[in-house]
């Protein structure tokens, strides 16, 4: 993903995923693992579902109430995670966390998620930008 996205493009990506989150639905089939996450300083109250087969995330979706940042960041995460191995997913989550905390990170793997690079400007919203990612992490890390 080119880091040369303009601010306008990044904003458009966030707005697109928050107004039309394609991964926001309950799973239609069987075999999903669910984690519930909520935050006490925001409205976020989400269920994250991952379907893992042969070491690979084959589907990811979520349902619940969320602010713009948690909605869009979780939706983007679901897009990016589908098809990745557990190892790849965990690495991506780790790099995303580094970006959140203004530490050096590998932008190659973050793709569209790079649009949240400025979250640290609004520190109170880091929790929102990471809620879905933390949920996925808690499912994947025990695999």
């Amino acid at each position: 993903m080119p880091i040369s996205l303009t601010n306008e493009m990044m904003r458009a990506i966030i707005m697109d995923h928050s107004s039309n989150p394609t991964n926001k639905h309950t799973p239609s089939g069987e075999g999903y693992q669910k984690v519930h996450m909520h935050s006490d300083n925001c409205i976020d109250d989400l269920d994250i579902y991952l379907k893992i087969e042969n070491d690979r995330v084959v589907d990811a979706c979520f349902e619940g109430i969320a602010c713009t940042i948690s909605l869009s960041s979780t939706d983007i995460m679901c897009d990016l995670m589908k098809g990745k191995t557990i190892q790849e997913s965990l690495y991506m989550i780790e790099q995303y966390q580094h970006m959140m905390h203004e530490e050096p990170f590998d932008d190659e793997v973050l793709d569209e998620a790079i649009v949240f690079i400025n979250t640290s400007k609004q520190a109170a919203r880091i929790r929102c930008a990471t809620i879905g990612w933390n949920a996925a992490n808690s499912i994947l890390k025990d695999k």
Partner: protein, 411 residues
């Protein structure tokens, strides 16, 4: 004459502070308030000149500390018009409510009894009662609201329908919508029906004159930090006969006359029997200084100042159809609102990026969403040092603040 410019000079937090590179506009005073120099200096004085425990030594420093604590208690008693020994120091409003829950309700309520509260209460005036109900088999019931408000009629009807109510616990001024209840009338209804009345004064005592004896409530609770005082201190004011009847809650040093190896304890009289362990002494000194500060300004003036700012803000917001205000008919220093189509948290973050501190969410009143009809609101709340200029900045940013994502992509 209330001289706001002069008042503001007393507060270090109001001197050239910035947030997100913008002048700080603090409009989250229902959560906590800034402290004037007078309070900070009084607390420093404890550590710099008076450092000692209270009632534990035979030397002058310790004696003087006892005198200071007694003076603080007198100052508080005078401020809310109670007797001195009716004032119990607690860590804050929350602990004060818990003290009544565990000291009174746990002791005297039983299965079949009911505790009347409302769906607009703060968690601190809900969860202690839930816990007591778990322990005793009593039940919590809710007063029927009249379009978001608790009315005298609502309380009266609750007693008509329900003969088992033994305790009523309500906020004097709600922390989300800022509505004031008619505490005196409600106290009288409670007493006619054989119930006790706890008034949660967290949002009223800091903003208006509250007279414990005149209201004739049984318990009144509040926190110093919401009234220019320090965190970690507050009080329960209770009718003395009830305090004496109550069981102790925290036990330990400083609350007993004697005890022996047969597990017999003789507690001190109230209020000392509730004040186990070393008290938060610097905070008690600061609490006293805060009350002196408020008294000097005059509670009538402080109340009027809040009301004027409220009316000023509401009138300026008139005509902006995309700003939904949920409590236009209130008149305390709290405005609860949303911008159409914008999540409350997103709006609060945008305001943060402009240097404006407000709170979003349910403000600890987690049963209020069906009452308002929204999962979350933005709350702005003023205090005695809030200026019209700050209201102007706030409103200008509500109206012309731009897109919520500006919070991340500008600056």
């Amino acid at each position: 004459m209330y001289d706001i410019k002069k008042v503001r000079l007393d507060f270090p937090m109001l001197q050239n502070k910035t947030m997100q590179g913008k002048p700080l506009v603090f409009l989250d005073n229902a959560s906590t308030t800034f402290k004037p120099r007078q309070v900070i200096e009084a607390m420093d004085k404890y550590y710099l000149e008076m450092n000692s425990n209270s009632h534990r030594g035979d030397y002058d420093l310790c004696y003087n500390m006892d005198v200071e604590v007694a003076k603080a208690r007198e100052t508080i008693a005078k401020f809310i018009n109670s007797d001195v020994n009716e004032v119990v120091f607690t860590s804050g409003d929350t602990e004060a409510i818990n003290l009544v829950a565990y000291g009174y309700a746990l002791e005297y309520l039983k299965k079949g009894d009911q505790i009347l509260i409302s769906e607009t209460e703060h968690a601190s005036n809900v969860l202690p009662w839930y816990r007591i109900c778990d322990l005793t088999g009593a039940k919590v019931c809710f007063v029927k609201l009249d379009d978001k408000r608790i009315t005298v009629e609502g309380v009266r009807n609750a007693f008509k329908d329900n003969k088992s109510i033994k305790l009523v616990a309500l906020a004097h001024v709600g922390n989300v919508l800022g509505y004031e209840i008619n505490a005196k009338e409600i106290a009288s209804i409670c007493h006619k029906n054989g119930a006790l009345f706890l008034l949660d004064g967290a949002q009223s005592v800091p903003h208006m004159a509250v007279d414990f004896k005149d209201l004739d409530v049984d318990f009144l609770t509040f926190s110093a930090h919401k009234m220019c005082g320090p965190t970690g201190i507050g009080c329960l004011v209770g009718k003395y006969v009830l305090l004496q009847k109550m069981a102790t809650f925290h036990t330990g040093g400083g609350m007993n006359v004697k005890f022996n190896n047969k597990q017999e304890v003789i507690p001190l009289d109230a209020p000392a029997k509730f004040e186990a362990g070393t008290l938060n002494l610097s905070a008690i000194i600061g609490f006293k200084a805060a009350i002196e500060y408020l008294t000097n300004l005059g509670m009538e003036n402080i109340h009027k100042h809040d009301q004027e700012l409220f009316e000023y803000a509401i009138s300026k917001l008139e005509g902006y159809d995309n700003i939904i205000i949920y409590n236009k008919d209130s008149n305390s220093g709290i405005i609860a609102f949303n911008i159409k189509g914008v999540f409350a948290q997103d709006e609060a973050t945008l305001l943060n990026s402009k240097g404006i501190a407000v709170r979003s969410g349910q403000h600890c009143a987690k049963m209020i969403d069906p009452v308002i009809g929204e999962p979350a609101t933005v709350r702005m709340s003023t205090y005695l040092y809030t200026s019209k200029e700050e209201i102007d900045i706030f409103i200008d940013n509500l109206i012309n603040g731009g897109d919520i994502l500006d919070a991340y992509f500008f600056n």
